[in-house]
């Protein structure tokens, strides 16, 4: 854990100079006393709550970032400068309307304080006029992004601990809104940081026209579903053989359908969803396989079908991993309920930070004994230390020659890590939040005793606005 932090710390220095307060910032939150958060006047918050979020689309992000000039960069900075506190203010107000008893929960109240602190600091940023202002601003938001890595596990634990204090539907609605808003803030913040980087990159020509295969900021212009599935498939397989032992027979991943389909997307979002789906499938298949007395046959393949429609790309992942047990099925999309909540809570305690990226999954030597102990259902790690995650290496090589036109990771992708087969109960609900964020959807159908089909639908044209609220919570906004 420590190793990865310091290793990646260096990398962040590269993009926002003067980094270093992140770790300190974290430690001060851990010290928080667990009383209710102190009362503060609500006036400044009210003003910001009154502002509506201005949603953006992938296409806007691309068009904006394609021809980058100083004035564009500055106006992007000012958009982020006003948008972040406004969006934060809405979430803070959401939390303020939760029952008192829920907000006094130590985890939730820490998140609340974290949000308030960020809001207070961001709303005070004066208008950005120069590139120097912008550099300073980028540093600040980079710092905030780091600090907030603890938000997901804290929220998840808080929600699990408070599951009897609120109706589960309300809890899930709250969680969905908070997480979706979080994604949105990170997207605009990271996009701005990435654009700033691109702008300052020595090789950045003033009128660069990126090729189709390239990124514009965080957006991959021609995201190819087949390539993402293949790559995630390999990495998930590597993770699985590290976790279950290299002798374990892993299922083949069979691709069919419209394999040339491309669409603009934020690669890390897609990788997270596909990674989670494949991970679930492989986990189920391997564990089902292990229950059988003879394990000589290769398990049935995972069939991935890519379907391109005029408006959408649909990715179907079909496995034969035995399906989802009936007692768990009603709860798979929920953050708070279900018969496994105690087990999940224990597991979450081991994961202080979640960036919700696919790259954070890795087998870490120092975490292994702990993890094995705490997850009775998880299989023993047989390949301790034998494998290092491919992403780490790739990242190391990337950070050295990063620039426009190369595949790049999300700036925070590797600051966190967690053992891949630690069940947190968050993969599916978070994947759905990601999918719905860009106006897509994620559905699951279980054939109990046989397998699961997952359907990820992606809006292909990139012209849909980010979905800041769930349909269910529209009325609450």
């Amino acid at each position: 854990m420590l190793r990865s932090c310091s290793q990646n710390g260096q990398r962040v220095v590269g993009l926002s100079a003067g980094y270093g307060s992140g770790v300190n910032g974290l430690s001060c939150h851990v010290r928080f006393t667990h009383g209710p958060p102190p009362w503060r006047p609500a006036y400044s918050l009210d003003q910001w709550v009154a502002r509506e979020a201005r949603p953006i689309s992938l296409r806007q992000l691309m068009v904006f970032g394609r021809t980058l000039t100083e004035s564009r960069l500055i106006s992007s900075a000012n958009y982020v400068r006003t948008e972040l506190p406004a969006r934060l203010a809405h979430r803070i107000r959401d939390m303020q309307t939760l029952p008192y008893v829920v907000v006094t929960n130590p985890h939730i109240s820490q998140v609340y304080e974290l949000y308030l602190k960020a809001f207070e600091s961001l709303r005070r940023v004066p208008e950005i006029k120069t590139l120097e202002d912008n550099a300073e601003f980028c540093e600040k938001i980079g710092e905030k992004l780091q600090e907030h890595l603890t938000v997901i596990p804290k929220l998840a634990m808080g929600v699990l601990e408070c599951r009897d204090l609120m109706k589960p539907e309300d809890m899930d609605k709250f969680m969905n809104t908070v997480l979706r808003s979080r994604i949105s803030r990170r997207v605009i913040a990271e996009q701005h940081i990435a654009l700033t980087e691109t702008f300052h990159h020595p090789r950045h020509p003033p009128d660069a026209q990126p090729r189709d295969s390239e990124f514009v900021g965080e957006v991959l212009v021609k995201c190819n579903a087949k390539e993402v599935v293949t790559r995630c498939g390999h990495e998930v397989a590597a993770l699985a053989s590290a976790a279950y032992g290299s002798s374990t027979l892993l299922p083949e991943i069979k691709l069919s359908g419209h394999l040339h389909a491309t669409f603009p997307y934020i690669l890390s979002h897609l990788e997270y969803i596909i990674g989670e789906l494949l991970r679930n499938s492989i986990q189920a298949i391997v564990e089902r396989q292990r229950a059988k007395p003879i394990q000589t046959e290769r398990p049935p393949p995972i069939e991935v079908t890519i379907c391109e429609a005029p408006q959408h790309v649909i990715i179907r992942v079909s496995d034969q991993g035995g399906g989802i047990p009936r007692d768990i099925l009603p709860h798979i999309w929920s953050f708070s309920k279900g018969p496994r909540s105690r087990e999940l809570l224990e597991n979450l305690n081991q994961v202080p930070k979640i960036a919700a990226t696919f790259q954070e999954l890795r087998v870490e030597d120092q975490q292994l004994p702990e993890a094995t102990e705490a997850t009775p259902h998880a299989s023993p790690y047989l390949g301790i230390g034998a494998k290092t995650h491919a992403a780490t290496e790739k990242l190391a090589s990337l950070s050295s020659h990063q620039g426009p036109g190369t595949v790049r990771e999300s700036s925070l992708a590797t600051l966190t890590s967690r053992p891949p087969n630690l069940r947190l109960g968050m993969g599916l609900p978070l994947s759905r939040v990601y999918a719905e964020y860009w106006a897509g959807s994620l559905e699951l159908h279980s054939l109990e005793g046989y397998g699961v089909d997952a359907f990820l639908q992606i809006s292909k044209l990139g012209n849909r606005n980010e979905q800041l609220t769930m349909r269910a919570s529209m009325d609450a906004v």
Binding site: G257, H258, C307, E308, P310, I314, R326, E448, G451
Partner: protein, 591 residues
């Protein structure tokens, strides 16, 4: 032909003799039901009616009135008499006779049935009728001749529509008549709570063949449920806007319900204590099942015609509730009929010994405790692909994988209906997208026998069901399975038929006529121009049924949901479609 041996007529049963039959045919007479204000009025009214040209009057004490035959369209003159409270055309004169024949004349059993079967097949949908054969054959041993009564409604449309004369069309403004039963009767029955039917109720009388006592107790149990259920339906219909119920189609259904309730009311105050009564009661049940076999298309047509006056949401809500209630009502009635036919006393009397004792049947009434979904899929697949071959010249193929050998307890007719509806859509898409060489993959998944932590999930479900907010559960108590952890099956039908257009997708579960706009042309009524698609889309091709009104899918879902299952559709537009049919098994009855 059998009237002379008949016991005294209790209900509105038919007691036609040969002379009357001939005359009716020759002069195109139509039977009318005349209700009088008081018993004293009956005789003068009959006299008056005969003066008006009526023939063959028969007194019907139960309705304080009589039936009489008039040449067509003569009835308006009757209402002029001060003795007459109401006069209406008997909606359904024919089936009375056939049932009477079947149940009272025991010797000519077979010939009567054959006679009926002949009329059944002389309709333009004859090929379909024949195609249904394989489905019927499968259960013949257990259920015998009554099978035609036991099929779900989709198949009824093939067999009953042409057998009936085209219904007389009352004028649009004709107010629905309700004089057969008093409002108090309906109101008092409808105020009684609906019994939450459980499957245990259906099998509590034991495995067939039932003894006489068990049969009688089944009859009395059935009798205790049905009038209340009918009254609730009548009440729901009465609460629709006047202009809607005045529509001839809906009015017809309304009157069917009144009629059925009136046939049951004579039994309401007494218990059925001997076999004679039981036979007559079963007779009434058979009539009930048949009278209502055509409800859905008629209602659909009626609501379509009324779409200016009632919102689609309201129609959908009414139909959803009606459909689900109807499934339960039919199940109760059909269960008793099936038990009746396989019971000891009646088997003994029956000349065709249907059930051989050396093969213990897996059936309890209409429930098959060892139903193999793969068998049903194959027989329905054969049926549907046969139609495809007939209409398109191509025969789609299918492959069953997963666990084809699995069996579970379910009502086979329900499964047949659902599978047929789903396969129609699947095969049609496959053929129309030109991919009939790609087999449809049907995966059968069986629940593991002892899933862990079962009870949590079921407790959860029950909690949901108890919530007063749950509209559907409150109004449509579905059946409880025998034992909760009963294994069920999930069936996935995966095709390469190009999927469903996203614009159409939101409407696939609505009764598609509710999405017709006001200016849309109504689909042709009758046999006019039925193309392949309509024939295949299950509306039936017969006389009063409606082609192309697309209620197959929502109805299929209603059947699946009845026992706590469901249907989900996942479309990959431009590629294909996955349909998931989840069915909760009914479990094994205890004891």
């Amino acid at each position: 032909m059998v009237s002379t041996q008949d016991p005294p007529v209790q209900g509105l049963g038919d007691d036609t003799d040969q002379e009357e039959l001939d005359e009716t045919k020759k002069n195109n007479l139509v039977k009318h039901i005349i209700c009088c204000n008081s018993p004293e009025d009956v005789d003068p009214a009959i006299k008056f009616a005969q003066e008006q040209g009526g023939k063959f009057p028969k007194k019907r004490p139960i309705i304080t009135g009589f039936t009489i035959k008039f040449p067509k369209d003569n009835i308006s003159t009757m209402s002029d008499s001060k003795h007459v409270a109401s006069a209406e055309i008997d909606q359904d004169p024919r089936h009375w006779r056939s049932i009477q024949v079947r149940l009272t004349a025991r010797a000519p059993w077979t010939s009567a049935v054959i006679a009926e079967a002949t009329t059944t097949t002389t309709l333009n949908a004859a090929p379909m009728n024949l195609l249904w054969r394989p489905l019927r054959l499968r259960c013949r041993n257990a259920k015998g001749h009554y099978l035609c009564q036991l099929r779900p409604l989709a198949s009824y449309s093939y067999s009953t529509s042409a057998r009936r004369p085209s219904p007389p069309t009352p004028r649009w403004s004709h107010p629905p008549s309700s004089t057969v039963i008093s409002d108090e009767d309906v109101a008092s029955l409808a105020s009684k709570p609906l019994h939450t039917l459980s499957l245990a109720d259906l099998v509590k009388h034991g495995r067939p063949p039932l003894s006489t006592d068990a049969l009688l107790s089944s009859a009395n149990f059935t009798l205790s449920l049905l009038p209340i259920r009918l009254a609730h339906r009548i009440q729901a219909l009465r609460n629709l806007p006047y202009i809607v119920v005045s529509n001839p189609n809906i009015s017809k259904i309304y009157n069917n319900y009144l009629h059925s309730l009136s046939t049951l009311l004579p039994y309401n105050s007494k218990t059925i204590s001997n076999l004679e009564d039981e036979i007559r009661f079963t007779d009434v049940l058979a009539d009930l099942v048949e009278t209502h076999s055509h409800t859905i298309p008629t209602l659909a047509r009626g609501f379509l015609e009324c779409r200016k006056y009632i919102s689609p949401a309201e129609v959908t809500r009414f139909l959803d509730e009606h459909l689900r209630a109807r499934i339960g009502t039919r199940l109760i009635a059909e269960q008793h009929i099936a038990l009746h036919l396989s019971s000891q006393p009646h088997q003994h009397q029956s000349h065709t010994k249907l059930q051989t004792t050396d093969h213990p049947s897996s059936y309890i009434g209409v429930i098959d405790t060892a139903l193999q979904p793969a068998t049903i899929i194959n027989s329905c697949g054969n049926f549907v692909s046969e139609i495809c071959e007939l209409k398109y010249g191509v025969r789609p193929t299918w492959i069953i994988d997963g666990e084809p050998a699995t069996t579970f307890a379910y009502v086979p007719v329900h499964l047949e209906y659902i599978i047929t509806e789903l396969l129609k859509n699947t095969f049609r898409a496959t053929v129309e997208s030109g991919r009939s060489h790609e087999p449809v993959i049907i995966t059968i998944a069986a629940d593991p026998e002892t899933p862990r932590g079962m009870h949590n999930a079921f407790d959860q479900e029950r909690k949901l069901g108890d919530s007063p907010l749950n509209h559907e559960t409150r109004y449509n108590p579905s059946i409880k399975p025998f034992d909760d952890p009963a294994p069920g099956v999930t069936i996935r039908i995966r095709d390469r038929g190009g999927g469903i257009n996203p614009e159409v997708l939101p409407n696939i579960w609505s009764y598609s006529f509710t999405t017709f706009s006001e200016d849309d042309e109504l689909p042709p009524q009758g046999n006019g121009n039925i193309d392949a698609l309509n024939a295949i889309s299950g509306s039936g091709a017969g006389g009063s049924s409606i082609a192309g009104l697309g209620y197959g899918l929502p109805l299929g879902r209603a059947y699946a949901e009845y026992f706590g299952g469901g249907i989900a559709v996942q479309s990959l537009y431009g590629w294909g479609c996955d349909v998931y049919l989840r069915l909760k098994g009914l479990g094994r009855p205890k004891g």
